[in-house]
């Protein structure tokens, strides 16, 4: 009994401590942030969190926002909507953040977006690709590409830049993979691509034996395979091991040094559509890549850069609005024109970003620039 009482006292104490901490930081401006730090998506959550923290450190080092320091309020959502909803409410109701950033996946982001919209708190999705996120309303923005846009860019990359026409699609069975596939297919006719076959796999798969055998029999000119580094790494190495030598085209899900580590030699020559250009001359991007590696101890990835960008965009809006009130802040956000680590960010009427797609290729064990797709017609996101 005494021991139980002790635990309760400890818990209450810890709670009081947290609350006291929150009160002490009253002279700062808070930015809400949620990402999956435990559970299956913890790796992306970690990159995103470090990226966001880096942005806050950089801004504070440069004097903060109109004299006030930024504070990142970070919560773990386990990539689950049932957790993201209370978190959104907590950020709004308890932490009273004027603006928030999602460093999480589509499902939690889409669920939280509704809550932020309802409370009129501006909300920026860093890398979730679900098309309906920004449709939650005018307070929701996205600083990354829609899955569909990236799929279209992939079609252009294969059909036009590489000139390959007979394509096998290997599609990841989730919102990311499906959105990419939809975008890719919508452009096949324009670029003269014929889809030989499409296969699907689950995010849990790491062994692709039968799929590889079938793709080999299909004998395509190129492979458009969606996935994350942890599925794409094994997939690419197994395709190459089976003797499939045609170009493999991926997307931002591959965009991590870990992909190259897993696939090893097989990664060489793989091209992806993403938003982080490793060979960029833009100071914002170069600076980010260096600073991230210094802070994290490993190389930057797309997720980290996207979270970094989103927080930078939030800070920029806070600065220009000169206020933490809801309406001026939303207006400032909508008028964003900012050079950030993942490109120049500006929003359309729906809150979707308009920027160039960076194609990166694996060369000598590192990501390097392959080409850039900057075709406003192709990359135009929906505006309603």
């Amino acid at each position: 009994m005494m021991r139980k009482l002790g635990t309760i006292v400890l818990l209450v104490g810890a709670l009081a401590f947290t609350l006291a901490g929150a009160a002490a930081a009253a002279g700062t401006i808070k930015i809400g942030f949620h990402a999956p730090q435990t559970g299956f998506a913890a790796s992306d959550g970690k990159s995103a969190t470090i990226g966001a923290e880096l942005a806050v450190e950089q801004i504070n080092a440069a004097g903060g926002i109109n004299g006030k320091m930024l504070e990142l309020v970070v919560y773990d959502d386990q990539a689950q909507p049932a957790q993201a909803i209370p978190i959104a409410n907590k950020l709004i109701g308890q932490d009273k953040v004027p603006i928030a950033v999602s460093g999480s996946y589509s499902a939690p982001t889409r669920s939280a977006a509704g809550v932020f919209q309802e409370s009129r708190v501006p909300y920026i999705s860093a890398y979730a690709i679900h098309p309906d996120i920004t449709r939650a309303g005018d307070y929701v923005f996205r600083t990354s590409f829609l899955g569909e846009i990236q799929g279209k860019a992939g079609a252009k990359l294969i059909g036009e830049l590489l000139g390959k026409k007979m394509v096998v699609m290997i599609t990841l069975q989730n919102d990311f993979g499906k959105a990419l596939a939809d975008g890719f297919k919508s452009m096949t006719r324009d670029f003269g691509i014929e889809i030989v076959n499409e296969y699907e796999y689950s995010i849990k798969d790491r062994q692709f034996g039968s799929l590889v055998a079938k793709v080999k029999a299909d004998d395509p000119e190129a492979i458009y395979a969606s996935g994350y580094y942890f599925t794409a790494g094994p997939l690419v190495s197994q395709l190459r091991a089976a003797g499939v030598a045609v170009p493999i085209i991926g997307q931002e899900g591959y965009d991590s040094q870990k992909f190259i580590e897993i696939a090893g030699k097989a990664a060489e020559g793989v091209i992806i559509t993403t938003s982080l250009d490793r060979d960029s001359d833009v100071p914002e991007t170069k600076n980010f890549i260096e600073a991230f590696e210094k802070k994290a101890g490993f190389k930057a990835d797309m997720v980290a850069a996207s979270a970094h960008t989103a927080v930078m965009v939030a800070a920029d809006a806070l600065k220009r609005a000169g206020s933490t009130d809801s309406e001026p802040l939303r207006k400032a956000l909508a008028e964003t024109h900012l050079k950030a680590s993942t490109g120049t960010i500006s929003f359309n009427a729906l809150g979707e970003v308009v920027k160039a797609v960076q194609n990166q290729v694996v060369k000598d064990g590192n990501w390097h620039r392959h080409s850039v797709i900057d075709d406003p017609g192709l990359l135009a996101p929906p505006d309603k």
């Binding site: 069975q173 796999y201 039968s210 030699k265 490993f298």
Partner: protein, 286 residues
Amino acid sequence: MLFFELFVQGLIHGSMYAMIAVGLTLVYGLLRILHVAHAGLFALGGYLGLLITNATGSLALAMITSALIVGLGGMLVYRLCYQPILDRPPYVPLIASIGVFIAMEEVFRLVFGPYGLTYNHPHLQSQVTLLGLNLRGAEIGMVITAMVLLGGLSYLAQNTRIGIAWRATVDDPEIAESFGIDAVKVRYLNFFIGSGLAAVGGIFISLLSNLVEPTMGGVPAYKALAIIVLGGLGNVKGTLVASLALGVVEAFGTIYIGSYLDRDAIAFAFLIAVLMIRPQGLFTGR
């Protein structure tokens, strides 16, 4: 040719399932426990194998050491987790086991980081051409190892004192005990062997994908349960057949009906269909 290749790939996948599921069915046969934490031990095997290989450069050493350590780990799980609650209804050890599994996954993440680890020896990814098929060394190694280990196990079970004691205990613990067989010792042995097998399986899987992640036990955690049910709970031979059958069904299923049902759904549709026709699984008895 494609048919043959898919079939071979199915068998490769199936032998991977077998190495995980046999340990699980051994535990079920003896204790009537759905041992979900087995998948955690499988992942532990993967981690140890990778760390030892990367440190020493010897895969064989890694296999043996990690099988031994994980075998001991399995005994520990039995002692701490199951032994005190054996007389409870089956859902009690099941939930306890799930708790242990979640905790293990989290410990892996906290200790080794969320990103996963990779082998630093590229030669482990060698390739072989056999019967006109391009296969990887690790695939062939896995199938051979599975055959040797599982074959050896069944030989031991048939022909050695301890093996006979084990089978007797599975058949009827009370009678076995009356013949002077130490049931507790048999249980420990059971967990040791089953967990060791899972560890070897974990190493091969991680070689095949060149990736060890905290969540690598996630799929075996439930898929292996389906397999041992399919094989007739506690039936080792049935489990082998079910593993290979499921491997083949999935190999063809993911290619030809993958756009209607995902891999898991295919596997479980197969399972439910079999169970509705044969409620005791493919093979009855123990």
